[in-house]
Symmetry: C2
Subunit: 148 residues, 2 copies
């Protein structure tokens, strides 16, 4: 989670919503690391989780992340949670809960849908306060800067 | 829908699950066209809709597809439907319904979620039989080839 949080801090320094993610191989090696690049790529699908999972499959030379763990600073949105189903991800560990935008423990609760074909193991709320703080700080600064 | 179906046929000829999509600008011009590339890219998130929306924002030089229409041969899955929310897509027109994998009229019904922040207009079941046929034919051939 420390690596994911460092990636989130890097995103914040680039003016991105600060979310960071890493993917670990079944043996615990870090095989991918990414942060939110929506602004840099002008691509609303360039969330940290999607970028990290793409990099992980490229690193493994496979289409499946079975047995792999994705660690991310924020509860994944419904798009990223659904992508985890397609990637056959083994486990997701996330930091802060996201009652407004989350899709795992909130909203459509993607993995609890009866038609969901693959359910990663889920561990949520890890280092919750620290992971929530970076987002709060980012949006406070944004409001001050943009005079909302 | 003819263009999207042609893209789906191209996907089938490459051994991909045959789904095709196009994006139209608010003035009706086709600004992006894509088909499923999961096998070619070894990327489970490379669905036709995501690729077409990425190409469309690149073509427009913007992050938003407000006022744009995406036409796709199959009901979008929850990942693609959720991506449409992030892309602020104006309208989605889809062909065949997908009771097992769909996320618009089936499963989590992404746009009907109370927390959904943007709801594209939806028109489903357009040229349904023709769009369903290409998928059925593909899976029949696959079963015969792989001796399932």
């Amino acid at each position: 989670m420390e690596l994911a949080l460092a990636a989130a801090h890097e995103a914040a320094s680039r003016g991105e919503v600060p979310v960071g993610a890493v993917v670990l191989a079944p043996d615990g090696r870090v095989i991918a690391r990414a942060s939110n690049e929506v602004e840099a790529r002008q691509d609303p699908s360039a969330h940290a989780e999607i970028l990290a999972m793409r990099a992980a499959t490229a690193a493994l030379g496979t289409r499946s992340l079975a047995g792999c763990t994705l660690v991310v600073t924020l509860e994944p949105c419904p798009m990223c949670a659904s992508a985890m189903v397609h990637f056959r991800l083994g486990r997701v560990i996330f930091g802060a809960y996201d009652p407004k935008g989350g899709g795992v423990d909130h909203g459509p609760r993607i993995f609890e849908q009866p038609a969901c074909l693959h359910r990663p193991e889920v561990i949520g709320g890890v280092c919750e306060q620290e992971n929530a703080r970076i987002l709060k700080d980012f949006f406070i600064t944004l409001r001050e800067t943009r005079d909302f």
